[in-house]
Amino acid sequence: MTHILLRHREIPEINQLSVYQKNGGLAAFKNAVTTMKTTEVIDVVKNSGLRGRGGAGFPTGMKWSFADNKNWPHYVVANADESEPGTFKDREIMEGNPLQFLEGVMIGSYAVGANAAYIYLRGEFWEIAESLDAKIAELEEAGYLGDKLFGTEYSLRLYTHLGAGAYICGEESALLESLEGKRGQPRVRPPFPPSVGLYDKPTIINNVETFTNVPMIMTNGADWYKTMGTTDAPGVKIFSLSGRVRKPGNYELPLGTTFRDLIYTHGGGVQDSRKVRAIMPAGASSSLILVDDDKILDTPMDYLEVRKLKSELGSASVIIVDDSVSMDWLINKTVHFFKHESCGKCTPCREGTYWMARLTERIHDGRAVKADVDLLLNVAKQMQGKCLCALGEFSTMAVVSSLERFREDFDNAVKA
């Protein structure tokens, strides 16, 4: 399959401006600015059916149309905080095909009338920020960024901004707080960012992968995009495959590709020819899919089908867990992650992750009694629906699902 996002795998040096242009790059942005109304750009994206690739799957064009036109200026923010354990796709895009990503941000900015866009990168992406800065300078030099572009009245500037190590800043309202120079703690919503965002102005925030789709949609049309993927979720998705597979990595595939295809055709199968015991399709935030029947591997990976397995596709960071792994070890890992990353603002998450971590540690260390396992489930269930943002909710997903679907592991850990 020819890639439309990870195009650097077929086109060497597409990260160079001249090569990107030779392959049609930046024509879509110029065409939009010089010949299209902003609403026309939004309509194309709406008609393509593109959904946000950061995890929530919200329709992109619809989000863009929500930018409050009674309140100006507008801002665009690219969420490059990629921090979900198991996700490493945005990095590859920004390293391999950075200009297509930037062009997507530029088209999005034009569509919502923003004259400034910020790319918020996790602090660890230091080297990527440096290379994006160089690309942005080149685009300014070449007349694609700056004042009165292509002789029109439209002006646009792009800036990178580094975070400093905090998973919560991937949550869009926490990201905005962080970008404003504060601690990254989520805001109470509503209002949502398209009404009140950066500096209290309407702000459109999308994931890196989402933006990277846009130039191809503008170039080839919404109908072309809909020929890929499913009716509910058109287009391609980058699946970050990790865990116990022979060939972990990013695989750009149509939405609706089966787990089996991803794991065996692309990922080379399970390490040491073991069996898949569980799948975490949305990284550490996943409900674990119990693979007790081989047919489960034939489930198409799209938002609706994965939900039928009582899990979520999320950002499609697929972690494969084989039959050598015990779930008490696994959730001890995920819970410690969320405990570390809880921002401390709301009580259920701050306290709940702390108590869950004490319990999972005790269970994993073999110091627990059976009542501790019940208590763990109790704590997790009490957190659900009560946290200010999704982080608290996410922290309970692996806990509750593994206790419900892999109970024997916990009973064994308690007995031993």
């Binding site: 080297e127 905090a166 120079g181 865990g243």
Partner: protein, 164 residues
């Protein structure tokens, strides 16, 4: 003073944000303050508070929130090994242990020569290239992927030589 020491950088950082968003310069200024010594001193926090018209407490609140800012001097380079779930499924826990044994330190400790601090950190978005770590030092942050203890010790030797 940050603005005396790095006038060009400070000006460039402030130019990225609108006047009403001046405080956005906080995080880049903190990285700048941390550049030489590897930690952010009280004096630097006062300095940044003055530049942005906020209180020192607000600056300290930001410093304390994020893991890449440090308030104490540790090794010149921090080796931050990802030991999170996806990396752990690919051998990261054994890697950290072996590396520590080779360096004669525990996680969180600094080598005697003051060059290296070993830290176990959360996911670094390199799950397909485990074991991996990043080095945080005066030149910024750099990724090292598909690592072995042998390869890491070679890197340590290079760092020791360049620091000597």
């Amino acid at each position: 003073m940050l603005s005396k020491k790095y006038p060009k950088e400070v000006k460039q950082i402030l130019s990225k944000y609108p006047p009403e968003g001046k405080r956005s310069a906080m995080m880049p200024l903190l990285f700048l303050a941390q550049r030489e010594e590897g930690y952010i001193s009280k004096a630097a926090m006062q300095d940044i508070a003055g530049l942005l018209n906020v209180t020192e407490t607000e600056v300290a609140g930001v410093v304390g929130f994020y893991t890449l800012y440090h308030e104490e001097k540790e090794g010149k380079y921090r080796i931050q090994v990802c030991a999170d779930l996806p990396c752990a499924l690919r051998g990261a826990e054994g890697f950290v242990k072996n590396l520590c044994d080779n360096l004669g330190v525990k996680v969180g400790e600094t080598t005697e020569d003051g060059l290296l601090t070993i830290e176990a950190v959360m996911c670094l978005a390199a799950c397909d290239k485990a074991p991996m770590f990043q080095t945080q030092g005066p030149e910024g942050i750099k990724y090292h992927e598909n690592m072995t203890v042998e390869k890491t010790m070679e890197l340590v030797e290079e760092l020791r030589k360049s620091a000597a």
